[in-house]
Each structure stands twice: as structure tokens, then as C-alpha cells.
Symmetry: C2
Subunit: 108 residues, 2 copies
DNA sequence: ACCGTACTACGACGTTCGTCGAACTTCGAC
DNA sequence: GTCGAAGTTCGACGAACGTCGTAGTACGGT
């Protein structure tokens, strides 16, 4: 069979579908903000989801990552059994210039 | 007696007490974001709370304004029976440069 | 003194949210 | 083929949230 490496991109909103309320609500949770902060300091081509330490269980982590993804804050692609996450910097900067830097620059 | 005009400032966090999670969560609600957007387009010296149209009742409005105030997003002072609200632009810009503009510049 | 306006306080309610554990899927390695 | 590692899904639970109506406070005007 031709098990060609699929698109592997998990469903996410296009740039024009991103809504500011959802982005802000997604970033408003301490666990998710912690995740985004660590993701922002990672190499440009992303990070395995599980490699970021979080004070919650696996299933709760999945829940939070989904909210970030559906809000348009992060992108996830499947690589083997892993998920690689990246910050959607370009989209966020284009839509809300300054927002991301303002959030990431806040007192840790 | 000396009914000197009191401080009239309602309790709010000092600049150094403002927490980014609270700010983002406060701005993440549609009703509150609507309020902040209208407040941002108002004259620099603020707006009477009740003069901003919102699709909720009085008591719900009070609730939301308190959340915005306690998060450090707005400032309120009493003038007669009215409350005048102002955006804490200086504090927010100093703490999270770019954030406020990013949020306010978002598609209406 | 009275009344109306502007707002706050207090329950109460239904809904959403964050959390978890257990069961399941998928993939890679041996 | 079997095992383990990485994630997801599915209830379930308590806590927090958004909403409302009623009652109460505080101030200004007449």
C-alpha cells in the first residue's frame, strides 16, 4: 500500500477564522500560558508536546493543547506517536501585532 | 463638617500587582471585551459606566466591571452616584507593551 | 422630606471549565 | 507478534463563571 506520510496537520482554524476572544481566553489559563511560554523559548521548528513539563496529568494536557490549537495559538503535527507543537507566531503577529510579544515579555 | 471630596478611587491593584493571567482572562470574555473596546474609543478622561451599551442587566454589568477593575484593566472613581471608568493604558503599556494595541486593533 | 437615578450586594440558577482515572488507539522497537 | 511509550477519548466530579431578580445604599434634585 502507499502509506505516504499524510498531511499530519491536526485541525486548526485558518488565519481569518481566529477570534480574539478565543485567543485571549486560551492564554488566560495559567497552565496554558505556562505551556505557551515554554514553547516560545523553544527552537523555531517546535517541540514534542510531552517534553514540556506541566503540573497536570496527560489527559488534562491533551485538553489544554486542544484549546490552544482550536483557538489558533498553536499548530500541531503528528510524527510517529508524537505531536510536534509550534507557536503560530506569523498568524498572531499579523492579526494582533504586538499582542504576543506583550504577553511573552510579561514578568515570568 | 468637612465633607471634602474623598479619594473616590475604587480599590484596584497597583501596577506591580497586576497579573497577566488575570488581565487575559478578563479580556477573554465577549461582554468585557466589548466594554473595553468602547472605553478605548472614549475621551481620555473616561466614561460613565452606565452610558456604555451592553447586552446584560445592571447587576451583570457591575459584576464584569469589578472583574476588569480587580484585574487592573480599568480604573473607576465615584462622582456623585456615577462611576467614571478609564482604561489603565499607562500601566498596561508599561507592563505589556503592545498587548493593548494588539487587542484593540483586532477586527471589530 | 421625598423621590428618582446610579450603582452595589446577595442569593440562586444553570452552564462551562479544569481536573482526574480508566480504557482505548497508534506507532516504534525488539 | 508483543510490548511499551505517547496521545486521545470518555465519563465523572467539584469549582468557578455568567446570568438574573430583588433588595439595599448613596447621592442629587425638587
Amino acid at each position: 500500500m502507499s502509506p505516504v506520510t499524510q498531511p499530519t496537520e491536526l485541525p486548526q482554524p485558518g488565519r481569518e477564522e481566529i477570534r480574539i476572544e478565543q485567543v485571549l481566553a486560551a492564554l488566560g489559563d495559567p497552565v496554558r500560558l505556562l505551556y505557551v511560554r515554554q514553547l516560545a523559548e523553544a527552537p523555531p521548528e517546535g517541540l514534542a508536546c510531552g517534553s514540556v513539563p506541566l503540573p497536570v496529568t496527560k489527559s488534562t494536557r491533551t485538553h489544554h493543547l486542544r484549546i490552544l490549537r482550536e483557538a489558533g495559538v498553536i499548530s500541531m503535527r503528528a510524527v510517529g506517536t508524537r505531536r510536534i507543537a509550534t507557536l503560530r507566531r506569523d498568524d498572531l503577529n499579523a492579526l494582533y501585532p504586538g499582542l504576543l510579544d506583550g504577553v511573552l515579555g510579561a514578568p515570568h
